[in-house]
Amino acid sequence: MLAQQIVNGVVVGATYALFALGFTLMFGVLRVVNLTYGFYFSAGAFIALYFMTTGGLSVWVALPAAALTVGALSVVLDQLLLTRSRRTDASEMSSLMITLGATLLLYSLATAWLGADIRRMPAGLLGVASGFGGVRFTGIQIVILGTSALIVWGLFALLRWTKLGIAIRALAENSDAATLMGINTRLTFAIVSFVSGLLGATAGVLVGMNYNGVQPYMGETMILKGFAVIILGGLGDVRGAVVAGVFVGLLETLVAAYAASSLREAVAFLALVLVLWVRPSGLFGVSEARRA
């Protein structure tokens, strides 16, 4: 029983972590609180659903195709909405306000176009559940864990060992100095937007598949959870987002299982308050200056 609950919790946590990664990356590097990020989660799920049902593609093609499409969408929206405020060096509050307006518009348009009804992924995706000593995994849960691990590792490798990664970290640390060193700021910003959109969309597709339901407003509930996770992990801290995501997923599940399910909603935010009392910059937040 405990083993099963831990599996449940880690799977939920992995989707939180995946979602929070892109969110925290945007904040750390682009210096914006981009609320349209929640919409990418919904958009990814819908586009993958479209590729699978209307396009007749397999999951393995539809998932990356949807993620890449949303990545591109993310670059376009970022350029459209935030270029101006970036040029004028506007505060983080202004990006919050701009993207809040844009998100409400995007959700309303999506609902007007697609309807608010929940939609189902094609039946029998990725096979049935299998048991290991009384603990059950579904095919999709294994895919969630595998994909998340792969993406987290890939992102770490990118940031640590590639020239692009160094450029991204340099921008996160000090964008003026990075520009003076000859780093192409606009291109790097666009790449980070792309990667973030891709991460948000991947999380959306996986969550849509796991619970077999896709709905335009699914990103709105996720973004609240995402906020708690990235603040808990330290704003802009990639490693912190992963650990905090899994931690929140596990905590929620174990509280629902062994304390009371009515406390489940509150527990992530309770943890957030407690951690911020002790460590104002989050679990792994080092200091204001070093991020990403």
């Binding site: 039946a123 579904t138 969550v207 339901g213 709905q215 009371a260 489940r264």
Partner: protein
């Protein structure tokens, strides 16, 4: 603000026009009012109700009431309390209707009901199932069976026919409809002597139910009783299956799960789900056969429970106006309390507090291959 004076002027002009029109006709019809959701996202309910009324109206008007044809003046509430309230004011104040049908939602009734009650015009809800509707006042009636009449029948059937002795209960704690449905279930379970192993809550927005269901799996219940709407209910069914809880452990739902959408979303995972309904399309009796046949002929689609309830209600109301002998609100109110009628939902009469008196028409439905069927 448009200005109260402006509204009064508009209403006044509209009223004069209507009066002129109604005086122009030779055989003056009796006009009753109806407030339903005819536009917006919830219009499927109001439109189904209107179809039920209109079909019944055709039949009533073959003979008419008190030697005059009956007529329904519709107002659209769009699912909005304010609009329902204004519709009630308009219909009572300027169209002078002696009776109101509707509104569609319980929330709208809590807004429009007090106005009708204050003006002493009977108002009859055909789809308002919430607790407390008829407590609004002496002029507020409902023909919809409240959940407290439907749920006990389903649980009793599950106990007697399927041997359900111990259950786990799940409900959406952040929603008033689900909570009220849960309260009804809790009382019914206690009265029937069915043991509740655990009570788990969730949020309507949740998509992950694995923690609660893993816990429930360990307790080995005979069934899981769920108070929620379709989306979360279907999510629970899908998660239940993927966690390997036996298909023999049925989901027993409240009114919120009585929708064909359950089967559409959850697919095979919904099989075995039990719900109660005041009416079902394939119910076998002469009155229902006639209703379903005529409805299909007129609208080229199957009726749903909202259309069926509206259909019966219009006959009942026509009967009450005949009994009153005059189209005066107070006389109609008295007649309604005495009227008995046997329609597609079975025998019907009102209790002294203006609720349906008889729940023997409740049918237990079982989900099979993505569709509800009458449980054998």
């Amino acid at each position: 603000m448009v200005g109260v004076r402006g509204i009064v002027a508009i209403v006044g002009v509209a009223g004069c026009l209507l009066l002129n029109l109604s005086h122009a006709g030779a055989a003056e019809p009796i006009a009753i009012g109806a407030i339903e959701i005819l536009s917006g996202p919830n219009s499927k309910y109001g439109v189904a109700i209107k179809k039920g009324f209109d079909l019944a109206l055709e039949k009533v008007n073959k003979t008419g009431v008190l030697g005059r044809p009956l007529e329904i003046a519709y107002e659209d509430s769009a699912g909005n309390k304010e609009q329902a309230l204004n519709a009630a004011r308009l219909l009572i104040g300027s169209k002078k209707v002696p009776l109101l049908l509707g509104p569609t939602l319980s929330g709208e009734m809590f807004a429009a009901g007090p106005i009708a009650n204050q003006r002493k015009v009977p108002i009859v809800g055909t789809s308002t199932t919430a607790i407390g509707i008829t407590d609004i006042g002496q002029y507020v009636f409902r023909t919809a069976l409240p959940e407290s009449d439907v749920v006990p029948v389903v649980l009793k059937t599950a106990r007697d026919k399927l041997g359900v002795k111990k259950v786990a209960v799940m409900y959406a704690a952040d929603d008033t409809f689900s909570k009220s449905s849960y309260d009804v279930m809790k009382i019914a379970l206690e009265n029937l002597g069915i043991e509740t192993l655990t009570t788990e809550t969730f949020s309507l927005k949740d998509s992950d139910f694995s923690a609660q269901l893993t816990k429930i799996k360990g307790l080995n219940p005979d069934a899981i009783v769920v108070a929620s709407y379709v989306e979360a209910g279907a999510g629970i069914m899908l998660a239940k299956r993927s966690l390997g809880i036996s298909d023999k452990v049925r989901i027993i739902g409240g009114n919120g799960l009585n929708s064909p959408k359950v089967g559409e979303i959850a697919g095979a995972a919904a099989d075995g789900t039990l719900v109660g309904s005041p009416w079902f399309v394939s119910k076998q009796d002469p009155a229902n056969d006639e209703f379903v046949r005529d409805f299909r002929a007129k609208y080229s689609e199957d009726p749903d429970q909202f259309a069926a309830q509206a259909y019966d209600t219009l006959f009942l109301v026509a009967e009450a106006i005949r009994g009153a002998g005059t189209a005066e609100p107070d006389k109609i109110r008295e007649a309604l309390l005495k009227t008995t009628y046997s329609g597609v939902l079975g025998k019907f009469s009102f209790t002294a507090d203006r609720n349906p008196a008889d729940s023997s028409g409740v049918i237990v439905l079982e989900m099979k291959d993505g569709q509800f069927h009458i449980l054998n």
